[in-house]
């Protein structure tokens, strides 16, 4: 059943392009700006999507490539764009992301940037990081990690060993990052989060608005990542070639703990154990209590959510973690779908589901048109994923729990807590309550139709 409806067509995509992921990654770096080398549209679309999700102004420049630039090369366009961007924003880091167009015409952005830095005498004044993100090569999922890897490759230095622990985060919410920091702070006060969008994309209101937010991962911290005690990379499925943690391990020998997004009992445990192992500290009472509360909550809700049959869609990492949370609570993740390619996702979920006698169908490199008819066939009663599931929700009339990116038809995506014991329980409660509503809302009518009507006819 894992075959797609169409072989040469994608209908209602469940993926975005690489520069989108790259942009999200750079949004978590202190005083950073992004320029997307390509035609104007790519950058505008990406801005629009991020702005709608986070409800924050999102400034991303474009080199506005036109016909001329496309034919004769975009070098002068890009340089001019960089110059203008520096004038307007004075950033300390600039991510230069390529588009399909720039890649296809074979732009040597590394070379252009080197020239630019020399011409403008910018050495040490601003870090310009080129990231090759052709939209046709992979999806926003890979683009995100690859941008992080390029940051590390460009900024990390050969430094003496230090006490820091690198935590590379995946596509989690701003609130999630605050929670990860809180959990990590039980073990160490020397944590580097890469990238940290908690303040940049969920900035408090202040009377003075500043375009370039000072939140985000600090550059001097990224420099130290090469000497860290360890890297905890939230990215169980990402390929080595895109992984910043792998680079740090290979280049500087920083031990790498690759883990899943800490959602669900098993994966939160895994995260906390990794921190405990790295720091040789025992797990504090506080977290034990939180774990106990989560277990207590799981017992409270298990019968209700056990009636859930879910369809989960979005990026591979979140799919894996949320499926795991569902399985642990008896909610069957009957359909799991991602637009990215990930063999590992299928393996891990199927394996875990089997342990609890559940059957799942995992669709990789897939789209919503494939998912939609299956939702009915499989008796799905809850959808879990991004707003892009709106179509299925509308047509099949199944409630949708919004998790992941993009969420553009509700408010507060950045404030949803999904990770840690607290977040997992919150998310579980949201799912359980949705299922309870579903059951309770029509129960009087249903019972009437099922049992009273036949009585009348008897």
């Amino acid at each position: 059943m894992s075959k797609r409806n169409y072989t040469n067509l994608n209908v209602n995509p469940c993926k975005m392009c690489m520069p989108m992921g790259g942009s999200l990654a750079f949004k978590g770096i202190e005083k950073s700006m992004i320029i997307i080398h390509g035609s104007q549209g790519c950058s505008t679309y990406i801005r629009r999507h991020i702005a709608a999700h986070y409800n924050e102004p999102v400034d991303i420049a474009s080199s506005s490539l036109t016909e001329e630039g496309t034919v004769y090369g975009g070098s002068s366009n890009l340089k001019k764009g960089l110059k203008n961007l520096i004038r307007l924003y004075q950033p300390s880091v600039i991510g230069v992301l390529t588009t399909c167009l720039a890649e296809t015409i074979g732009e040597d952005i590394q070379g252009i940037i080197r020239e630019f830095i020399l011409e403008e005498d910018l050495e040490d004044k601003v870090h310009i990081i080129p990231v090759s993100t052709p939209g046709y090569q992979a999806t926003q999922y890979e683009g995100y990690y690859y941008a992080l890897r390029q940051m590390v490759e460009n900024l990390a230095e050969e430094v003496a060993h230090n006490e820091y622990i690198n935590i590379v985060v995946s596509d989690v919410t701003c609130e999630d990052i605050r929670e990860l920091k809180r959990i990590a702070s039980f073990f160490s006060d020397k944590i580097i989060i890469l990238p940290d969008i908690s303040d940049t994309l969920d900035a408090p209101y202040t009377s003075e608005y500043s375009k370039l937010l000072s939140g985000g991962t600090k550059i001097n911290k990224i420099k130290l990542m090469g000497g860290a005690r360890a890297t905890v990379e939230i990215g169980a499925l990402i390929k080595d070639a895109y992984s910043p943690g792998k680079y740090l391990e290979e280049t500087y020998g920083v031990p790498l703990y690759k883990i899943s997004v800490p959602i669900g009992l098993e994966y939160v445990d895994e995260f906390i154990k990794a921190l405990s192992q790295i720091t040789h500290k025992t797990i504090p009472k506080e977290l034990e209590l939180e774990r106990g509360r989560m277990l207590d909550g799981m017992i409270d809700s298990h019968k209700y959510n056990g009636e859930g049959v879910g369809a989960i869609f979005g990026s591979p990492e979140l799919n894996l973690a949320i499926s795991s949370l569902c399985i642990e609570n008896g909610l069957t993740p009957k359909l799991v779908m991602t637009g990215s390619k990930s063999k590992k996702l299928k393996e891990i979920i199927e394996e875990k589901a089997k342990r609890f006698h559940m059957e799942t169908i995992v669709l990789e490199d897939s789209d919503f048109s494939t998912l939609q008819p299956m939702v009915k066939q499989c008796g799905i009663n809850i959808l879990i994923g991004s707003s892009d599931g709106k179509f299925v929700k509308e047509k099949v009339k199944v409630p949708l729990i919004r998790v992941g990116f993009p969420i553009h038809d509700q408010i507060g995506a950045q404030r949803k807590l999904n990770v840690g014991y607290k977040g997992s329980l919150r998310l579980l409660d949201e799912m359980t309550n949705t299922l309870m509503d579903l059951k309770h809302d029509d129960y009087r009518d249903r019972m009437y139709d099922d049992y009273y009507t036949p009585l009348l006819k008897a």
Binding site: L9, N10, N12, P13, S39, Q40, C42, Y136
Partner: protein, 466 residues
Amino acid sequence: MSKDPIILEDRKSFVLLNEKKQNNTIDCEKDSVSGAVSQRACVYCGARVVLNPVTDAVHLIHGPIGCSSYTWDIRGSLSSDEENYRNSYSTDLQEENIIFGGEKKLEAAIDEIVETLSPKVIFVYATCVVGVIGDDLVGVSKKKSKEHNIKVITVQSSGFAGNKKDGYKAACHALLSLMGEKKKSDEKDFVINYLGDFNLAGEAWIIKKYLKEIGVKTNVVMTGDSTCDQIENAGNSQYNIVQCAGSMTYLAKQMQMKYNIPFEQVSFFGVTDTANSIEKIALLSGDEAIMEKAKALIAREVDKTNAILDQFMKRLRGKKVAIYVGGGFKAISLIKQFRDIGIESVIVGTQTGKKEEYKKIRDLTDEGTIILDDTNPSELEYFIKQTGADILVGGVKERPLAYKLGLAFIDHNHERKHPLCGFVGAVNFIKEVDLTVNSPVWTFINEQGGEGYEQKELYQLERQSL
């Protein structure tokens, strides 16, 4: 103004201070300045937003996934029947297609669509990359049209080949190539086409109902809630009325040449414009009965609407608005609509305005108004602060900027879920303005800023309660 570092050297000619005595003009209709963080989209986007509401066509994006992903269901256009247009079909080009060409994949994709959906029309949109790798879209479309005996129409919308307004043009060309021959007709009724309404939240239906009431028949709305059959038949109308000028004036001109159909500009935003437009259409018909009915409708609706507006206007007096929207004509009708409810425009900007439109804007607005073409967040921020605007009108990207600056905001975008046109729209509009500008939330911001605890009043309150 020109000394300010907020405005890039290359951008200076795109910024104009309205000084009535000086006959200054503004630069426009040019490519965006690289690195300036323009709010504009691309050629493809322009084509997509105009064509996408054709309800029963298949809209196939030939290109990599991003382009189709970001524009899926981009307009909130409603349909009275088919909903095929709400799906986003893409060839999802991969690296190997970029190297070896994507024509084969496109052909196969069309075959698959025909097999499963048997549509009458497939629009094939070109994206940046297919323009560069040189896929012969026209060739493929011709071949497939013949093979399947349907219309496969290429939309020449490579992203880099111009800007958004070139996309409008590409869409108009696609619509034109769908239109059939003019039939000999003995139609006695006054039949028009209504161009440039995309039926967001039922807007085209609202206007169609007014027209119906006064006895005017609408052949096709382009493109809100339209079908391929209706568009094919578009040449058989007596008049074209054009609301969204930016996207559809070109089509109206082309149709004038091809079918000898004259056209007239209308606007259904605000009470004054709506009433004037209905009257104008009635006059165009030359039909006494229609003119009578129009008069009756206008009298009835204007009174009813003004009574409601009056209640709100008291609460809005003295507010200032900044407008930043896509097209020049929309900006013009917004200026008028705000004036109707007693609000002056202090900043007016557009993404794709034309010379004549900017001239009109200049004439319409007061001395000291800032006029902007293809502006960016830095300039918007600067001028909003400088002019002390209370409200910003814009799209999704501008909304968070307004909020961060502590400003009320009006969504004038594809996604809004309430109609803003016609008499109902005028009421919705003033309600929305009131809702945002008079929200209690601004009290806290104005009195306490973001750092409320440092304010004196709070401490005083505490002391009093002791």
